[in-house]
Symmetry: C2
Subunit: 119 residues, 2 copies
């Protein structure tokens, strides 16, 4: 079920290369990568998961409410991260020329289902 949801988001997002659901300790719950993905999505999740922790603390310190979405664009990869409650997050990686808006939309739409399943 997690894998199907991940595949659905990644494959329907033009330029989507991989996706994962990870807990806040850096343990992947599920991953999915298209053939030929140049990055290991688990490694991306671990690195950016650490960053996500700092972002959550920064948002608290700013009294800006809960952080629910983060996007990081680099030369080679755009990664969209969506928090799933306090303990999990969903991340989808796209090529820089991928359809960022579509990825965000599909992730936002899938979040309640994922959250219900994880909770």
């Amino acid at each position: 079920m997690f894998r199907e949801l991940l595949r659905d988001i990644v494959d329907k997002t033009e330029g989507g290369v991989a996706g994962l659901i990870m807990d806040s300790e850096g343990i992947a719950v599920e991953t999915y990568a298209r053939d030929g993905a140049a990055f290991d999505i688990t490694t991306v999740g671990i690195e950016y998961g650490v960053v996500l922790g700092s972002i959550k603390r920064a948002a608290e310190s700013l009294e800006a409410g809960q952080a629910h979405e983060v996007a990081i664009g680099t030369d080679k990869l755009v990664t969209i991260i969506r928090t799933l409650g306090d303990s999990y997050f969903l991340a989808v990686a796209l090529r820089p020329d991928g359809n960022f808006g579509k990825g965000r939309y599909l992730m936002r739409a899938a979040a309640p289902k994922l959250l219900a399943e994880l909770g």
Copy 2:
């Protein structure tokens, strides 16, 4: 000139509340806030500037190239950050219902001019 460019981006982005140009040490070069902005953009810049440092290091460690754009969405504020070379960044804060795509576009369009001026 910096203030005019900031004002132009913030005012033309529906839901835009404030913007700043900051160096990587957390010193603001210029700021602009619309009347009634609920957040101090300099404080936002300092908090997220620290996070941006971690993101740059994570991207390097992933060999994903240079990080050039980061967006952070919380309950109360969406902040788009664009790096301006190694030493500066541009940040624009929007209301959560603001026009994210427009903000990103205007920031991307303004970046070369800002970079030339800062360089």
